[in-house]
Amino acid sequence: MRIWMLIITAVVLSFISLFVGAIDIKPSDLLDWNSDKTQIFLASRVPRLMAIILAGAGMSIAGLIMQSLSRNKFVSPTTAGTLDAAKLGILISMLFFTNVTYTQQIIFSFAFALVGTLIFMQILDRIKFKDVIFVPLIGIMYGNILSSVTTFFAYEADLIQNISAWLMGSFTLVMAGRYELLYISIPAVILAYLYANKFTVAGMGEDFAKNLGLSYKFVLNIGLILVAIIATTVVLTVGVIPFLGLIVPNIVSLYLGDNIRKTIPHTAVLGIVFLLVCDIIGRIIVHPYEIPVNVTVAVIGSVIFLIMLIRGRAYAK
């Protein structure tokens, strides 16, 4: 698959995404600059599209970084507790401060996502048995534990509705003024591109990386910080989107191999395409209502992941 084919698909889907929704907006409506429809278009549809693009590219690349750092195809924000840790961080910030500000939430969520992923990487270091299946299994369980801690405190503090309502993972509430945090992931993605080769080397193990003259710890930390930044921005603005970072890099590596410098652009665009498709499906099926995007992504994503697990065992090794 060529990159321009992916890009064209993404552009076409973006166009569809802009003109699907509860209110029927046609391209010709936009000619009148002051009409209500133009206002809706600018305040809701365009931000929504931007949010999908940023979250789709960001989450896929976060997955790619984690996979090359851990040299395990099935490690991703979903299967390493990153998203659950970010959620826990937001909850803790709500418990600590009575009137929690956005900045405080960002800081807490980021710190927890970073530390949570770091702890998982530490666990990974200790495990002798680095099976491609075994590691994500531990990661999912680790995420479950973190998330039960979140539920526990949310129950005690009567925040359960609060937490589940805005961590659902949906683009419905994305509007101008509420999603701009996501732009932070752009520099993160660019940095990821610059560091791509180093991540590959670091993934080959500490000794090997040092032999090649790489500051292993530094590169590892950069990678994890980038992942934590991306995860935090997405969780805070859109909510939890599962499986994206898991399956998109895997699909790309199926047809393009493992040179991540080469696969990063593909991964980003395919992530956007995947998320756009899921979001459009969710908006069309129950029009004029919506199915939250995390539900569509989870259904489609888990099916793809299951196929990968069953069919692709040879490839995963």
Binding site: K128, I133, I138, I145, T151, E156, P242, I285, S302, L306
Partner: protein
């Protein structure tokens, strides 16, 4: 063996103490009001505990491992899928919802089919490593869970309210109508189970050995799959899904009672689960006065225990 019977008596006494504590501790207001309510909850917890332990132990025997359980493989999510599908296609006023027996029967048939496909597909071909099966099971659970949410969004809001009361059962909100059916099912299952205890012991020797010793292995597997589906359906319908509970109690029972006799193992696991559920609920409700549901705590402890088991198993494997 003598040692084991003392252990079982000890567990039984502990279980009775837990039940008595939960039934009589700090009863305020009308005894006539509170007592039957508490008995209802105790009944549900005992039935659930026994059903889960029983189904988990026999399931682990026929799949020859100690980590996979019916719940972890997604069987209890299947119950929710069936209920949601019934509401989705037939509606809350259809005979499939109003007739409890029909509804329960339909769920069980669907779950047995699911269990059979799972078994045929995953376990018969012995080439799949256990961790792969486990990961597949967990992802399958996620898939079924999201599929349920997906359908629920599509259902008419009024229908959804009615469905919710059926799906969101918990230990404090027991699905009371079903309790008597559940006790009946458990009773029948036990009569059947009592007759096959010896065969189960033989089956744990492995397929080839069991066939050599005169067991109709494949038919027994079929029967046991049906049995565990029925039991899981019963417990899920009563109190909702509790994913890691079976895993904890079955493994605790293996560790505590060092034996391969199923009569001892199942009894032990059942007593441990009664202690854990009734005792745990007592602590949550009366001692710590938490708002949290017991399932959240079980998931927390179960998750940690699960990682511990995985690491232990992997060390012996690798």
């Amino acid at each position: 063996m003598r040692n084991n019977s003392t252990k079982l008596i000890f567990l039984a006494v502990l279980a009775i103490i837990c039940i008595l504590l939960y039934a009589f501790y700090d009863i305020k207001g009308g005894f006539d009001y509170a007592f039957p309510k508490r008995m209802m909850r105790i009944g549900a917890m005992v039935v659930t505990g026994v059903a889960i332990s029983y189904s988990t132990v026999v399931f682990q025997t026929i799949t020859h491992n100690r980590i996979l359980t019916p719940s972890v493989m997604g069987l209890d999510s299947m119950y929710q899928v069936v209920q949601t599908l019934i509401y989705f296609f037939a509606g809350s006023l259809s005979i499939w919802v109003l007739n409890k027996y029909l509804n329960f029967g339909a769920s069980i048939i669907a779950m047995v089919l699911f269990a059979l496909i799972l078994y045929r597909f995953l376990f018969r071909a012995d080439k799949h490593p256990i961790y792969l099966l486990l990961l597949i099971g967990m992802i399958l659970g996620t898939l079924l869970g999201s599929f349920v949410t997906f359908l629920q969004v599509l259902i008419d809001p009024l229908e959804y309210l009615s469905l919710q009361s059926r799906l969101f059962a918990s230990f404090t909100k027991v699905n009371a109508d079903l309790l008597y059916i559940a006790i009946g099912i458990l009773f029948i299952a036990f009569i059947y189970g009592y007759r096959i205890m010896g065969k189960l012991d033989v089956m744990s020797l492995g397929r080839e050995n069991a066939i050599n010793l005169g067991i109709n292995y494949d038919r027994m597997v079929m029967n046991i799959l049906i049995l565990s589906s029925v039991l899981i359906a019963t417990s899920t319908a009563l109190v909702g899904p509790i994913t890691f509970f079976g895993l904890i109690v079955a493994n605790l029972s293996y560790q505590y009672l060092v034996t391969y006799k199923h009569s001892v193992l199942i009894l032990g696991a059942s007593l441990i689960s009664i202690i854990a559920l009734v005792g745990g609920q007592f602590l949550v409700e009366h001692i710590f006065e938490l708002r949290t549901t017991l399932s959240v705590i079980i998931n927390f402890i179960g998750g940690i225990y699960f990682i511990y088991l995985l690491l232990k198993e992997s060390r012996s494997a690798g």
